[in-house]
Point group: C3
Chain length 354, copies 3
Amino acid sequence: MKTDFARNQWYVAAYGTEVSRSLLGRTICGEAIVFYRSANGEPVALADRCVHRQYRLSASALDGDNLVCGYHGFTYDTTGSCVQVPGQRRIPRTARVKRYPVVEQDSFIWVWIGDEAVADPQTIPRAPWLASDEWTTVCGMEPLAARYGLLIDNLLDLSHETYLHGGYIGTPEVAETPITTEVDEDHGIVFVSRHMDDVACPPFYAKSTGIEGRIDRWQDIEYHPPCLYLLHSRVAPVGVQLGSDGDDSRAFHVEVVYAITPETQTSTHDFWAVARDFARDDQGVSDFLAESNRTVVLQDVAALNLLETVIAAEPAGYQELSINIDTGGLAARRMLADQIAAGDSARLPATVTG
Amino acid sequence: MKTDFARNQWYVAAYGTEVSRSLLGRTICGEAIVFYRSANGEPVALADRCVHRQYRLSASALDGDNLVCGYHGFTYDTTGSCVQVPGQRRIPRTARVKRYPVVEQDSFIWVWIGDEAVADPQTIPRAPWLASDEWTTVCGMEPLAARYGLLIDNLLDLSHETYLHGGYIGTPEVAETPITTEVDEDHGIVFVSRHMDDVACPPFYAKSTGIEGRIDRWQDIEYHPPCLYLLHSRVAPVGVQLGSDGDDSRAFHVEVVYAITPETQTSTHDFWAVARDFARDDQGVSDFLAESNRTVVLQDVAALNLLETVIAAEPAGYQELSINIDTGGLAARRMLADQIAAGDSARLPATVTG
Amino acid sequence: MKTDFARNQWYVAAYGTEVSRSLLGRTICGEAIVFYRSANGEPVALADRCVHRQYRLSASALDGDNLVCGYHGFTYDTTGSCVQVPGQRRIPRTARVKRYPVVEQDSFIWVWIGDEAVADPQTIPRAPWLASDEWTTVCGMEPLAARYGLLIDNLLDLSHETYLHGGYIGTPEVAETPITTEVDEDHGIVFVSRHMDDVACPPFYAKSTGIEGRIDRWQDIEYHPPCLYLLHSRVAPVGVQLGSDGDDSRAFHVEVVYAITPETQTSTHDFWAVARDFARDDQGVSDFLAESNRTVVLQDVAALNLLETVIAAEPAGYQELSINIDTGGLAARRMLADQIAAGDSARLPATVTG
């Protein structure tokens, strides 16, 4: 089972807070990239390999906005052009490293791996809660030693919460409740919903919201292949209705955001964030949600790392068995396959930027 | 040098004491298997991979006699049939994992990897001392990072005791004394014997038996390919004869048993046991023999792990040089090759069980 | 990028002090070799694999001048002939391991990997300072997890001192000063020179010589592919001229010697030595130079190990960009390629020895 990457797509490379005047080396879809900010704060992403002797530029140093290779001093500006070489004045014409389009949005640094000519920032899906003043967010990133497809499978089928995350976010009702799945082919989105009425409240929500009894619980997933996964989570004491005018202010809302960024064929950057619209200034709730969600993510990481070893050892052509709960995951796999196949034939966007 | 496995054979998977109401995952001949006991004590062996998303069932939990996958809750009974899936009532017809025949005998759990239709428990070779009330046994298992053939070579040529196990069970006379080798093609057994008269007594036997002077020492090997190796060891003060009626009660007898079970192409489960008919209630002797034999096994493990790295790095077609001492090992290799070649053409046994 | 070895060449296998009456196993150009000294002090090099069951002879023991395999006792003399086997008197005619020609010279044990018929000790390049009474030497060896070509590149382009070794031996002037390169095709030597007038004195030289002001500094490299690299380094207070009679006794001289010995395709033995003609009895200076040079070597090791991971991950056919400073390194690569291509067609030398 070979994993390919949809190259003409935006990927979350880092949180904005990770990119600074220090150099950050990170591999995205198999490409080694060095990230930093220019003196005026703009994020910069360059190929992390000197044209001269291939040294990692991320093991180098900044001189103003320029990057000076730590091995022989080849110096690059923020466009990737070489502006100085050792021992001579003439700079070879071909001395440049690839510059990657980057966009900072919703607290993330997004990077475009493929053909720059078709990189359209307008197509980056949004996760507006993360950088919003009206929500409080905790977040993190865990390295995953497994192919990114396993994380997509994992997140699109939340019935695993019952078994893998019991005591945190899972209760028996999650696995028992059927899902509904919708695919929006025009906008490239997979929707998976599970609405549970009058069910137990797992500790993750009980302790953060203060609800003591049973709840109505909605899980509305919105997956924008390849990278962005949104889980609109609503919990409310039993019977708190959505108003006819759409008012839902008596319920508790959590926006769980994952960015699923392939590092290599068999490893993944697993970005996770939890935004809430309640107890917004309560540091105790923030600490609890951060600790709990990180624990849940690490439970997934352990399971998926194990699964990667199973897959690596499996005979060729091994067939999985899928059931109803997998409808969303299978739709996601198909969309990803289409994105990979589309490759450089992606349509030209109205606006090109970098 | 590719290692293959004789699949239509019984292998020791574990000591009976290792298999319990907790789950034990172990790979045998490249196949991941989960072992446990049903509530009534019967050993169960199932393929250690959920049909749904390939999760390791050994990382799961028991619900009564059923195994509940730790990822999404697919539930299997002791025959490997799936009896429950999440989010729906209908269970797909193909939802089952392979069930392996298992037999508990002579303190071991034996498993059959190949075609269940030809699995005959009557063909399992015996090591009756290990579970006998008339013998006292110490035992263990050491993981070996080397192909199983290297352990077979090792055990069938005990001249290595002189060099690798000097100070424990080796003395110069072992390497100096010629062997006699016999092959019983009908029953598939290799016999290798070395009888030494009036030789030094190595510490392993001197300290456990209390003999202070020189000894007559017999090493009678009986190898039942692929898995079971028996070393009938007799030591006696010089001149203690075997009675004309076969009475040998004045000598000391040790039955050394190895089960050589391939884990992967290049790793092996090295089960070892030492049964004795003397000083049977002396815990000090038990402790000494356990410690000494484990040390000897670990000396072999270190040597064979080193050898595996040599072989892994060797040029293709490298030729070893064999001499008389290798006669038993070469016969064993040939028998194993025949067993591997026989594969599914193995004759149907009189009795089939599982 | 496949790395090959020039086999019909001499390589430094060890310092003479490393080879003793204990066994030393070391892999040279992919061949596992065991080194020891006979009772009369002669170095011996034999293939490190027993003909019987491939055990590492370096994990064995000496019996006088003979090597006794630690597994079954096959015994070899210093020519590699087997003189004893276990359990029988007849020794098979083919029982011998390869003997490698070795020469002890200039404190090194040199070994010849290829065709013994063309091994000429007269062709071994010299580093006479190391074993000279008129020089004081500190030395060491660091294992490098990178292909040997990366170390050759590194040493032939010292402009990297400015960036990788700032604070030790690098100053800005090293990278700024152009080099001159000469290739002596007849004797197979690459010369690279950089003469710097009136420049800063790096700590490595300031602290060891006691010079307080600016210096004239010469770096004259002499590389004898594949293995021996000499850096004739001269530092002197500004204006200390070389006498018209060649007298340079008022300057400080350091002979930096590297032996670059491939271990495997992607690992290298990095031997380094620093000989000086000043402060010869000052242990403080010896300690300082040993510590400083080891630090510099370890900076290179870290950089080249990193580079090896870059190269291992690179797409096939990746093209580096070379500039003037690389002239010496490119000449060295070409000479090495010629040596590799020459292979067994190497001319017969006047004297053959072993």
